[in-house]
Amino acid sequence: MTTAPVLDADGVRRTVRRLAHEIVESNAGVEGLVLVAIEGGGAALVQRLADEIEQFEGARPPTGSLDVTLHRDDLHRRGLPAALKPTQLPDIDGRVVVLVDDVLFTGRTVRAAMDTLNDYGRPKAVRLAVLVDRGHRELPIRADMVGKNIPTAQTDDVRVLLQEVDGRDAVVVVPGRLEA
């Protein structure tokens, strides 16, 4: 099933650029800022945000990535993946860490990411930037910076496609099948 993208390539580009500006604005500069990807959807996005910020600020914030698998609360339901992604973090003590993910949904990944971050140090503050907020939160979590709010049904599948991973930029909502 194909559906028209909610964001096309230009839309993704503009949204990423705006997010980059919002991140720098809320921190009043690049000083003390660290961008951390939540492994899975955030990795390519973090590099783009850092590229953008470098362009208009002349300084690139340090970046890192976080595999949150072992901190998830739903491992008993999902199973453990037999492979894990590397976690690589710059010094986060006393920094403002912006967690970056492509889609914000139940909030469970973000909770796991905050727990994982605590194993590495104590940031001055942790913020959350997402390209898409699709609703249906199951925890008291919200994003500080949102690219686009997209109303969805619980069963819909929201896909963020990025050039680096998927060969093109787009955000697509694939309608979920009706529950049997």
């Binding site: 099933m1 899975g40 959807g41 990795a43 595999d67 698998t69 072992l70 901190h71 739903d74 491992l75 008993h76 339901r77 999902r78 199973g79 453990l80 993946p81 037999a82 492979a83 894990l84 992604k85 590397p86 976690t87 492509d102 889609v103 914000l104 949904f105 139940t106 909030g107 469970r108 990944t109 973000v110 994982t116 605590n118 194993d119 590495y120 140090g121 199951e138 069963t155 819909d156 599948d157 929201v158 896909r159 963020v160 496609l161 991973v165 694939v174 309608p175 979920g176 099948r177």
Partner: protein
């Protein structure tokens, strides 16, 4: 593209699923290369967790591991205990002299009793070769062989492979020389399987009385030919070490001297001790390994044991990471191959 709800990145497909079929870890002879790589790759991630400021994750919460040791051990037992705890599992350690074994309880009863208490994995060391196989046949808890007699020590072999791989990247064609008491060494046996699988050249060196029979091609019965990995036997240590990428000294079990296998420890040290001078013939950048516990001054000279090429302490750290990887895989909580998770990522 299917319309199922599943994580957008990375795509979950069968081909990406790392290989893992084991319910127990008894020896490396039934591990495929892909399975060994699954363990080593995962150990990389586990190693990273060990270096965190707070090295503890809740992944195996509610998973219970029992260390059941019928023989003394420091590093293996501590290593498994820490591995389980870092992953959030509950770990308890039993030793034979404080367990009901002294009251005559059989191995099978002990294992069944532990399983009745909902133990998920039993890490077992026993003086009898094959004991973990017997245990595995009588319980559905996962059995991990932490050394059985002179037979096998698969987790040591995996940590040895991991250590070598982290230095060389690829083990193909690497010359790995094991020196010492090969016949009584379960480490050597499991290492042989693992090294052969990974494409390394295995050289065994020691006095003829401490080399197992049946390893030379000419000694083998015809039907055993394919059942043993190909190794080279060399009784002269200087020849063996020439061009070696890895020199692994094995503990000389001094009790062997009483058995008439060695004239004297002094003579053994003179002929087979791994020394700075002998290592000069090894390949530059060689690794000096020892599974521990070591008798410095017997099979290995003190200065080389703590020298620049020594990986002895690194092996100990890697051991925790490798055992974490094994417990994680054995927990059976990993996704079944080809079966995407039923829930969408948050």
């Amino acid at each position: 593209m299917t319309t199922e709800t599943r994580p957008p990145h990375p795509p979950t497909t069968t081909s990406r699923q790392p290989a893992w079929e084991h319910h127990d870890v008894l020896d490396l002879d039934d591990f495929s290369v892909a399975e060994i790589e699954t363990v080593l790759n995962l150990a990389d991630r586990m190693r990273e967790i060990l270096d965190r400021r707070i090295a503890r994750v809740p992944a195996l919460r509610g998973y219970t591991v029992v260390n059941l040791f019928f023989e003394p051990s420091t590093r293996t037992r501590a290593s498994f205990e820490l591995a389980g705890k870092v992953l959030g599992a509950d770990v308890l350690s039993l030793t034979a002299n404080t367990s009901s074994v002294v009251k005559g309880e059989s191995l099978i009863d002990t294992v069944r009793t532990l399983r009745a208490m909902r133990t998920d994995a039993i890490v077992m060391r026993h003086s009898m070769g094959g004991a973990p196989y017997l245990a595995a046949a009588h319980t559905d808890a996962s059995i991990i062989n932490a050394g059985d007699g002179a037979h096998a020590h698969p987790t040591q072999a995996l940590l040895d492979l991991y250590t070598m791989r982290s230095h060389f990247g690829d083990l193909h064609g690497k010359r790995v020389v094991m020196v010492g008491d090969i016949s009584h060494s379960r480490v050597a046996r499991s290492d042989m399987w693992g090294l052969a699988a990974m494409g390394a050249e295995v050289v065994l060196c020691g006095p003829p009385t401490l080399l197992p029979r049946g390893l030379r091609a000419s000694d083998r019965p015809a039907h055993a030919e394919s059942a043993l990995p190909a190794v080279t036997i060399e009784t002269n240590i200087d020849h063996a070490i020439e061009g070696a990428d890895v020199v692994m000294a094995l503990r000389l079990q001094s009790e062997r001297q009483q058995g008439g296998l060695l004239p004297s420890l002094h003579e053994y040290a003179r002929l087979y001790q791994v020394t700075e001078e002998r290592l000069a013939k090894a390949h530059p950048g060689y690794l000096l390994m020892h599974p521990g516990p070591k008798n410095e001054g017997t099979e290995i000279a003190t200065d080389v044991a703590s020298g620049d090429n020594s990986t002895i302490e690194e092996q100990v750290t890697n051991g925790v990471a490798v055992r974490m990887a094994l417990l994680y895989l054995l927990s059976g909580r990993t996704e079944a191959p080809g079966e995407p998770s039923s829930e969408v990522r948050a």
